[in-house]
Amino acid sequence: MTTTAQAPSRVDAPPVLEVRDLSVTFQTETGSVSAVDHVNLSLAPGEIVGIVGESGCGKSVTSMSLAGLLPRSARIDGSVRLQGQELVGAKPSALRAARGRDIAYIFQEPMSSLNPVLTVGRQVAEVLQVHERLSRKEVQERTVELLELVGIPSPRERVKHYPHQLSGGMRQRVMIAMAVACSPKVLVADEPTTALDVTVQAGILDVLRGLRDRFGTSILIITHDLGVIADIADRVVVMYAGRVVEQAGLHELFERPQHHYTAGLLSASPTPGRHAGTHRLQEIPGLVPVLSRQPDACTFAERCPAASERCSSKAPPLEPIGVGSGPLQAHEHLTACWHPRGDQPPQSPEAGR
């Protein structure tokens, strides 16, 4: 499924998904919660963008809000344009038409996303039947084609299997097949590999990459796993407490993280060659805040080693840093920080205990 020559993402072409000033607030029984605050995001055709952050950062809420998948207690402000069509505030029928046809999702738990009493083939066929006018035979053929596309061996037999007869990795592949059945331009994958074994994970990421290579599908992948990001993303968006704190091309982010939270995440992840005897994983003190209202301040300041007065009195805007030279600058590097890290090395070495 892996092609050696990767179809380049056409960054100069108009974005297939454009999110502007997206804000989501929830009314809970204990008060309001600001889950997403003025998030800007764009996805070029054939691009894979990874949204990374820890629990409570708002990444899943952001992804669900795109196609109107949030409960009614959520208030969504801002704009989400999918190929020019505005989705925020769109009529339910318009959203339903867009889902599956233009934007599709795969989630973390394939077992609960698949109907246990229907065969796999039937479920894939259902997606086709909702959005396209095909004869029964055409639907059957396309179903087998799709299962093959996602790398399921012996697809003709598998079509008749029920979800419980498939392993976790297989089920996730079926989910992907259902998601891409109608060739959507955007595929949103929310923690697609988190519930899977590591040896199976690679295969799934491969399938996703293959979709982009063959069909130019843009993929928005949401995860907390930096390794998954390192594997598949072209561009990375880092979120914290509902805001985007950094955005950059993959290599640029890992080599020159500007925001202290990003640097903290990178230093907290164990990497090869560092053992407890000689190194210490960097911890970020404190907890991710749950905010009822987004303040005019940097919400990471209280946990940040470089915080100053300015940080708690004014919210830093998401701005491009001085662009460096070299092939790594294919994408703009943006960060929301009053004191970006500049050229400091990504991990402060804490060797020699």
């Binding site: 592949r173 590591v198 295969g203 990497t271 407890a276 970020i284 003190p285």
Partner: protein, 367 residues
Amino acid sequence: MSVFKRRAAQDDRPTAGHVPPAVPAAHGNEVVLELQDLVMHFGAVRAVDGVSLQIRRGKVTALVGESGSGKSTVGRCIVRLVEPTGGQVLLNGADVTHLSRAQMREHRRDVSIVFQDPAGSLDPRMLVGDVVAEPLQLQGGRRSRQERAERVTEGLQRVGLRPEVARRYPHELSGGQRQRVSIARALMSEPKILVADEPTSALDVSVQASVLNLLADLQRDIGFACLFITHDLSAVEYLADDIAVMYLGQLVEQGTREEIFARPRHPYTQALLAAAPVADPARQRERRPVLLGDDLPSAMDPPSGCRFHTRCPLAVAQCVEEVPALRKSGGAVAACHFVHEDGSAPDIRAGHATSAVTPAATTGSPA
């Protein structure tokens, strides 16, 4: 009945460091726990099928495997949550395999366990202080309430929590804080061996870092043996001294951390290492993942011969017919027909043409 009165929520920011011991721990590496041919069948499910392992004082042994490997079951056998179907569990030399609940009581203080899910591992109806104090109450109540409270405070501080946390309920704490409470509780009885069953898998990255650091610190200071059960290879590389890899109920490879990461011999270990995502794009992209195929065999009807043969790119007829014994291979121990005694073995990650590889002679000396 509670030792701790309920008070309003107060500051519980983790203290900067832990409490170091007065005397640096000096310990030899005696075997604290030994598993001999451990077998655990749940009816038709052969969860563990002949695992032998030694866990030494002062060392962290990682038990690595994916779902269905049986690693959690091994942990549960060690703490005697279940009674093994076969084989032996030797705790400090004593055979505890088939002891009754009553007979196990005197051994209970030597083993403790920390679980994966911070949400389910603390009784939601109990104050944190009572949760941590429970082992003290269970193991002989000769202490007064005051003494217990003091021990609890000490225990909480040792894991980086303020004493006020004792007066809170678990749901008021974050996931990372709850894991620290679990660890504090587990260490209350001063166990010789701590079994940590996926202790960081349900935590965020930055929180994982603090818990891993904590485990490393505590283990170094107190010197207990630790069995670290996980599927997360990067955490293993950080924390473990020795590694044992399991697949479908059996051990496939064992060795020191250095050996296993530098020179994995068993194809499954190699596949695991190749697949585990690394937070470094340069390294991640240059790896060629070994795509093993998603069809996991069932523990109820494991494949014949080498259980890995259905997914192994090297498999030949011998692998289907003959079970490979766990045998010495250089500085490690592996169960694979292709592994030679001198430590050489094919590396499926480099994409060796399998025809160039021949199995080692089957008459190898068992480990």
